[in-house]
């Protein structure tokens, strides 16, 4: 079963995403901070990372750079879930390879389908 890593500091939002992924048949691992999330990603090598843009210890885009700098996590697609609708942040995210974004509030009926688009041709569950 494919694993998804959620990096999100808001416990309720994390729970919501966790529910949606579990209902869709994924294994979910979680982190409240970017630092722990980066370490967890290197250790567990999830198929996909869902990350908040504004995390308590660093910006999501900084965490993104750290993930891309590490060979173990370089290839993992990252989808930002952001409550910010400011174009500057979205532009910044758009410049990064293998990376997407979804704005909060998420649509619970389409959320998993939307993030699966970022996983690539093989599809996460077949991997």
């Amino acid at each position: 079963m494919a694993t998804v890593l959620l990096i999100e500091d808001n416990a309720q939002n994390r729970r919501l995403e966790k529910d949606l992924f579990e209902v869709a048949g994924y294994t979910v691992i979680e982190s409240e901070s970017a630092k722990d999330g980066i370490a967890l990603a290197a250790e567990k090598k999830p198929r996909l990372i869902i990350m908040d843009v504004r995390l308590p210890d660093m910006r999501g885009t900084q965490a993104m750079q750290a993930l891309r700098a590490d060979e173990r996590t370089r290839g993992i697609p990252v989808v930002f879930v952001t409550a910010s609708a400011m174009p500057e942040e979205i532009n910044q995210i758009n410049t990064v390879y293998n990376c997407g974004y979804i704005t909060k509030p998420i649509n619970t009926r389409t959320f998993v389908k939307e993030v699966e688009r970022y996983i690539g041709e093989n599809g996460m569950k077949n991997a």
Partner: protein
């Protein structure tokens, strides 16, 4: 004593006149006011730039009992201007910035450089007046603009942060309500279904208000840009009607669409046109009592597309017709909302270079919102 003074003056003036003839051309070309004067305030040299700067001719300056009193009517400013001058030693200079009053009464900001020289045993002051009024005004405008820009940035940041802070809990409210509504984790009874629908629709309503405020902030700070594309106006208008269909049905309101032949494709920012039409249409449905009608008419006038959103609703009195577009205005307290929809619609229409207005027969006689959009974009530059 008297004749001695006269002789001295003649000697000085003769001396200057010889040099003045040579320097005249140069002096008249210079943009700075240049004067040579003695300790009593008599001007030997007073170039045309000086006349331009002060508004007084050399003759007027010399005829005045005290020229300094003339250009510094304010004793404090006069004192400031003279500060240090009386103590000047030969060969020394002094620079100061003062405000003079011109002959026409307008103030001028001047930087004065004064030098003390000696000519045939007499103290002679050479003064250079540089008019920096326009420069100062420019600096002032620059400062005001920088301040306004900083204020605008602060506002945008505030709106972005506010939006972020409000969306985070809304994500939980709407998300969990949706999961419950969809009965993902088990069935709900009818009452629970009804109540969770209230949570869901209120949450979505709150979200639309936050989006409105954010949009308004973007338009006002000039950050809203048009992204024109060619699209089908017919599809857009039909799509807008679908969005309010359910509400209209519940309110017992009949909807209609009337598109004149010959318009379909238009070039504009599709998302924004949709928002304009949707805002008008949801107002039409909101302010029309049961049994009424509402709808859209569209036609093409040369290179302009006119869209009308009409209803048979509560109408708008003529005294309120200007106010409804200014935001935070509500015709009636019993309808919820901030009154931002029309304000945003107006801003978005204007961003396209179009116009929006309302016609109404008066209270209870329905309203027709009319707007014109160029069929091709002619964006109005935001200032």
């Amino acid at each position: 004593m008297r004749s001695k003074k006269k002789t001295d003056l003649r000697v000085i003036e003769d001396g200057f006149r010889k040099n003045e003839a040579k320097l005249c051309f140069l002096l008249e070309k210079i943009e700075d006011g240049i004067t040579l004067s003695d300790a009593k305030g008599h001007f030997y040299v007073y170039n045309s730039a000086m006349e331009r700067i002060t508004g007084y001719t050399k003759e007027e300056a010399n005829a005045s009992l005290d020229f300094l009193e003339l250009i510094y009517p304010d004793p404090i400013e006069r004192k400031r201007a003279l500060f240090g001058i009386v103590e000047l030693q030969e060969g020394m200079s002094r620079e100061g910035e003062v405000t003079i009053v011109r002959k026409d009464g307008r103030p001028a900001r001047i930087i004065i450089n004064s030098y003390l020289t000696n000519y045939s045993g007499h103290d002679i002051f050479l003064s250079i007046y540089r008019d920096v009024t326009e420069h100062k005004q420019f600096e002032e405008t620059q400062r005001a603009r920088k301040f306004a820009e900083a204020a605008n940035r602060a506002k945008s940041e505030f709106l972005a942060n506010m939006s972020h802070e409000l969306r985070t809990p809304l994500n939980s409210i709407i998300g969990f309500a949706e999961i419950l509504h969809d009965q993902t984790f088990g069935p709900l009874n009818d009452k629970q279904k009804e109540y969770i629908n209230y949570v869901l629709s209120s949450g979505k309503y709150l979200l639309s208000l936050i989006n409105d405020i954010l949009d308004l902030g973007k338009v006002e700070s000039g950050k809203m840009e048009l992204k024109p594309s060619v699209f089908s106006l017919k599809n857009l208008l039909e799509g807008s009607l679908v969005l309010v269909k359910e509400r209209a049905f519940r309110g017992g309101i009949e909807l209609s669409l009337d598109i004149a032949d010959g318009i379909d494709r238009m070039n504009a920012d599709e998302r924004k046109v949709k928002e304009i039409v949707y805002n008008l249409l949801s107002n039409a449905v909101k302010f029309t009592p049961r049994g009424g009608r509402a709808g859209i008419r569209a036609r093409k006038l040369d290179s302009i597309i006119e869209i009308q959103v009409w209803d048979t609703g509560i109408g708008i009195e003529s005294k309120d017709r200007g106010k409804i577009f200014s935001g935070f205005f509500q015709l009636d307290d019993k309808y919820e909302g901030f009154g931002l929809g029309l304000m945003i619609a107006k801003k978005l229409v204007e961003l396209h270079g179009g116009r929006i207005w309302v016609e109404s027969g008066g209270k209870g006689k329905g309203s027709t919102f009319k707007l014109t959009l160029p069929a091709n974009p002619q964006p109005k530059s935001q200032s």
